[in-house]
Symmetry: C2
Amino acid sequence: MRTFSSDSARLIAGNGIQIGRWEQYGPPGAMPFGAMWCVVPPGGRSDPDVHPETELAVVLAGAGAVEASCGTVEVLPGTAVLLDPQERHVLHNRSADEPLVVLSVYWMGGVGDAA
Amino acid sequence: MRTFSSDSARLIAGNGIQIGRWEQYGPPGAMPFGAMWCVVPPGGRSDPDVHPETELAVVLAGAGAVEASCGTVEVLPGTAVLLDPQERHVLHNRSADEPLVVLSVYWMGGVGDAA
């Protein structure tokens, strides 16, 4: 059993926010996906992001929104947002006081045919 | 973009708690892992669980603990716990008032050689 948290992770500036890739925990070989902490400062937002991987963004703390090509959804902790490959998206922090914390899980392979 | 939440999911009794497998959202073909909501009632705990899949348990709400063969870790929202294949584990809700909500992600393949 191992535990991971954004609070104890090494975060660096990236994509206009603070990010922490899980490669910091060791070789990723045993996981069938990549993972990254995304911490959006109060009132902030990420740069637009577009990538070939399918992404599942799991909201862990704060209050925010995910803006994508098909619209914007408001999100709270416990919501998971599935983004298609090449779907442009922006993370918005709606709070002026609290960071928005998201665990992003991503993998190669389309999602258009199934969820 | 699709959104998922345990609040709107269909949950059923299973493993001593309430569970909601993501198969309810459609064929799982495009995800390289299985996923399941786990909702532990206030003061409750799951039955012991042992399975061949590696599991990443992401805590979304509440206050609890993950008991495994190597010990027990207290967990709060934002903590992710990685469990080895065949590692027996129990989810405990430490709160008398609030449910403990966990997103369990699981896949075949060992984790012993890497995280």
